[in-house]
Structure formats: structure tokens, C-alpha cells
Subunit: 331 residues, 2 copies
């Protein structure tokens, strides 16, 4: 048998399905046709073992059906969950996920975006740490938690609402003197709103509070020092702490326990993210939970919109509170 | 300016670099040319803002410079680390990672492989749970931890050696009665060798031992029941346990503590994987550490070999032991 006999063409599919070549082409390129036609074409394609050459398709439709996902790494559980949910949201739509990791390096982030431009992906979803990122306006781009410019939609959890929720929760659980602690990047981002929301509730409720924000701190030492300086006779000066990540919340929890402070009896702690323990599957600590599945779904759906006018600048999705051992249980 | 004046072509690059069109084409397609020629071409391409149309390149060279990575999910820390390291190993070689997730579903795994065939990726690296996976011999394929057939290379940690190492370590730390516990899939795989290695050392050293292997168990309950049945007056019948994952080791550790058994004073436990706590960055428990970075590097390097004869059936990479609180410290 010659090679051409082995490999069925679009014409073979059209003949088998009893439809025009144009109809087959429409179906293969994802253009809407009547359901009965679509089924005849896909049945015939399956029967013959017809395979779309996605590269030829890419040239013709100028679409690649692939989206680049740019993240720092997959070691951080938030990034791993995000990559997981983004990949699922893209697969559901028959899009491929091109995964790129940057190790928080601003130059690597820029390089990734340049590479995507060369590889002609249909879009980019990125969580970056480069405040001066150059974005090609011709490629659809959605950020997670970052503000680039008014043309680039950002998808995030409701960071401001989450900060408010943490303050309200600690106050409702009887805390009298609140503390906000933040570790992380100095890049201005959505995440800044966690402190803003927390502080706004403290002010509104006339609650005593303090904020300790250590940007770009590589270690936990400054936080530990702060705790040491505010402990006298086994008593910590604050009785309610909101940390901007679950990781920090757990580190502070350990530090307090080691210092002889009881958690949650004397001090209650709420983190942010909703990270689950990979041993028990339970929350690592009491936390404001990010809806990572819905964030991924929203990011993909905004990215792939055909009509790219009137896109939101920010789509913030609702968070919820979970109890995880570092707060008093509500009875 | 017309569009054609805006978009530089390969001819423009050749003119700018003062080389032939063939030389430019070679450089763009990754074919070796003299370093000075390569530099002149890449400098000229950069100066003109020339961009390779990777889809046109894909049609011409029949290469896509992309590799599909098929994993169950990114929630399990081993899979997240593996995806992370594979992506880095591929990026280093200017290959794109197409990430696909299957949720352990054998049908989804087969569908992924079919999709890759249609999308013409240059290869597949997969960790699957479908014992009857149909693999297209025309697409380079490397598995992690799975044996498909003699044509498909498998990359893994030295599972047999790791099992041996765990037994030797427990015996050297004074354990007299050993236990192996396994939770997980019934798919025959590399992972089976952990028990085999462990048991072979127990036999060789005439050590008393028992193996509890519960395949496809969805919960930890059978393990907990086993422990309950073997505890009398706060004393567990075994004093050294090797678990086939760190997750199981941690669950067993918690269960023993709750049952009033001291770890590591009375019972020592070793897990497998080398999972780090994402709060502290330290090992979750004493463990046999898989070299995930080296496994990823090996998988990518085998996959992309031009000469695909004489490939190994199995490449097992060395593991090492790490102390993590569930064994007595060696003094």
C-alpha cells in the first residue's frame, strides 16, 4: 500500500460522511455547523482514523490551540494547585497548556513572554514578579494577582474582602489586639489588598492593631525577632494574628508554641490561601481560602474570549473562611 | 509602510548577516554551523526583530520542539516536583512542555496519548496507571516508574536499592522486628521493587519481618486496624517500619503517637520519596529520597536522543537516606 492510501485526507472524510469538503473543514477548525453534520464528520473522521495536522491547522487558522502558563515554580502549593486547575480548564476546551517556570527571575519572565511570541501561542496566563514586564498587546494576556495595565485583565481572589474577613473573624472570636504580618515580594500587587482590608476593619471597629510588613525578606528571622520582643512572661502582646500566607501563619504558630504561648487559647492565627496538608488533606491552619479552581476557570475563559473589548481590569472571586486549629472553634 | 516591510523574512536576515539563506535556515532549525556564522545570524535576527514561525518550522522539519508531560495531578508533591523538574530540563533545551493531567483515569491517559499523536509533539513523558496503554511506536515515549514494553524506556529511582537501604538502615539502628507497609495502586510497576528490596535484606539478615500490602485501598483504615490489632499495653509488635511513601509513613507515625507508642524511641519509621515540608523546607519524616531532578534530566535526555536504537529498558537512579525525626539519630 502506498503512503497516501494509508493516511486519510479531509476529502476522504467528506466522502465517508457524505458532506462537502467545506463542512469537514469547518468542523475541524471548530467553526459552528449543525449538530447532525458535526456528528457525521467526527464519526467519519474517527472511522477512518483521520488526524488533524495541528501545524497545518495552525498556519491556516492562525490559531495554535495552546496557551502558555508562566509561573515561578511548582514547589509552592499555591502555584502547583494553580497550574493543576489551569491545565484542567484548558484541557476541557481542547487547548494545550505550555508550562513555563521562571524561579521568580524577572528576566526569565520577560524571556518567557518573548518565547511565547515566537511560538505563536494563542495567549498567556502569568503570575510574575517583574514590575516592568513588556507585554505584546497582540497576544491575549491574563495575569493572576498582578496589575500590568488597563488592557491586561487580572484574576485574583477577593484579597481585600479576605483581609476584612480575617479581621472580622478574629474580632468575633474575642481578640482584642490584632496583628497583621506579611512576608514576600515588594512588587505592588493584588496581595497588598489583604493588609488594606484587614486594617480597614480594625479602624472601623476601633480595634487596636499593628502591621508588620517585611518585603523581600528572605528569612523568617525578622518575624521571630518581632515575636521575641513582644513576649513578656510567656504572654504575647497580641491575641489575634492575620498572616498573608498559610506558610507564614504556620511558621508563626510554631514560633509561638516554642515560646510557650498557647495557640489558639491565648493567640489565634488566620492565614491566607487555604493550603491543605498533603498528608491528611486537612487545612494546615485556619485560613482565608482562595477559590483556585474558579480563578483558573475565570482566567482561561477571559483569555479565550473572541471579543476582547470591554474586558474587566480585575475579576476578584469570593473567598471563604476555614477553621484549621489555630482559631477557637465556633460553638 | 506595508505589512511586508514590517515583518522581516529569512532573506532579510541573510542579507543583514552577510550569509547565505541556507545558513540562516540551518541556524533557525538548530542544525550545527560554525559558531561565528551562528552568531552573525542570531545577531542579525535580533537586530531585525526576526521571529521564527514555529508552525512553519514544524511543517518543514517535522519537529514541534514540544514534549507532552502526562501526570495524574499536581496535588501530590512527587508529581508537582516531577513536573517542575521536567519543565526545567525541557526549557534548558528550548523545548516546550505541554502539560496534561489525567486524575489517575486510565481512559483519560489513553486519550492524552491520542491527542499528542494528533498534535504531533516530539515525544511523551508519562506516569500512568493504565496497564494496557496503547503506545504509538512512532512517537518517542519515556515512562516514569512504569514498564510498558521493551521499546519504551523507563526512568525511576533505584526502588529495589531503596528498599534494601531502608531495611539495612532500620537494622543498623537496632530494630529487631520489621514491617513493610504499602498503600497504592495495583498496577504492576517499578514501585513493587521497594518491597522486594526490603524483604530480600530481611531474609539475608535473618530478620523477622512482615509485609502488609493493601493495593487500591482508598483509605488508611485497614492500616490503622492492623496497628490496633498489633498493639498490646502500649507496645507495638514491630519496632521498625518501612512505608512505600512518605505520606503513609506520616499517617502511621500519627496513628502510633495517638496510640501511645513513642516514635522513634520505641518504633522507627522510614518513608519513601524525600518529600519536604512546604512550611519548614525540612523532610517530613526519615525517608529514602528520590533524585527527582536527575530523573527528570535523564527522562528528557533519553527522550530527545536522535539515535533511538539501544535505549535502556530501565534507567534507575541512585537514592539516598535522609534523617527526618522518625528514626534514631546516628551518633
Amino acid at each position: 500500500m502506498s503512503k497516501s492510501q494509508n493516511v486519510p485526507t479531509m476529502k476522504d472524510v467528506a466522502r465517508e460522511a457524505g458532506v462537502s469538503l467545506g463542512t469537514v473543514s469547518k468542523v475541524m477548525n471548530g467553526i459552528t455547523v449543525g449538530e447532525s453534520y458535526r456528528k457525521r464528520v467526527t464519526d467519519a473522521a474517527e472511522k477512518l482514523g483521520y488526524q488533524i495536522n495541528s501545524y497545518a491547522r495552525g498556519l491556516k487558522t492562525n490559531k495554535t490551540y495552546s496557551v502558555a502558563v508562566i509561573l515561578p515554580d511548582l514547589e509552592h502549593p499555591f502555584f502547583a494547585r494553580l497550574a493543576d486547575e489551569l491545565t484542567r480548564a484548558l484541557m476541557k476546551r481542547d487547548y494545550r497548556t505550555i508550562l513555563m517556570l521562571t524561579s521568580y527571575d524577572p528576566e526569565a519572565e520577560q524571556e518567557c513572554i518573548t518565547m511565547v511570541r515566537q511560538n505563536k501561542a494563542d495567549g498567556i496566563i502569568a503570575l510574575t514578579y517583574n514590575p516592568d514586564l513588556e507585554i505584546d498587546p497582540s497576544i491575549p494576556f491574563v495575569t493572576i494577582d498582578r496589575h500590568c495595565n488597563a488592557e491586561v485583565p487580572c484574576v485574583s481572589s477577593d484579597n481585600f474582602g479576605g483581609g476584612r474577613m480575617a479581621a472580622e473573624k478574629l474580632l468575633s472570636l474575642g481578640c482584642k489586639k490584632l496583628l497583621f504580618m506579611r512576608i514576600g515580594s515588594s512588587v505592588s500587587s493584588e496581595v497588598d489588598k489583604r493588609a488594606a482590608g484587614f486594617e480597614s476593619i480594625c479602624r472601623m471597629r476601633n480595634a487596636e492593631f499593628e502591621s508588620v510588613i517585611l518585603d523581600d525578606s528572605e528569612t523568617e528571622q525578622p518575624f521571630y525577632r518581632f515575636i521575641d520582643e513582644h513576649i513578656a512572661q510567656g504572654k504575647f502582646e497580641f491575641d489575634g494574628i492575620f498572616c498573608n500566607t498559610d506558610k507564614l501563619a504556620c511558621l508563626i504558630w510554631n514560633k509561638l508554641i516554642q515560646s510557650g504561648v498557647r495557640v489558639p487559647e491565648d493567640v489565634q492565627i488566620i492565614g491566607y490561601d487555604g493550603t491543605l496538608c498533603h498528608i491528611t488533606g486537612k487545612p494546615l491552619c485556619s485560613s482565608i481560602v482562595q477559590p483556585i479552581d474558579r480563578m483558573a476557570e475565570a482566567a482561561v475563559s477571559i483569555l479565550l474570549k473572541n471579543n476582547r473589548s470591554n474586558l474587566p481590569v480585575l475579576m476578584a472571586l469570593p473567598v471563604h473562611y476555614t477553621e484549621g486549629g489555630t482559631t477557637k472553634e465556633v460553638t
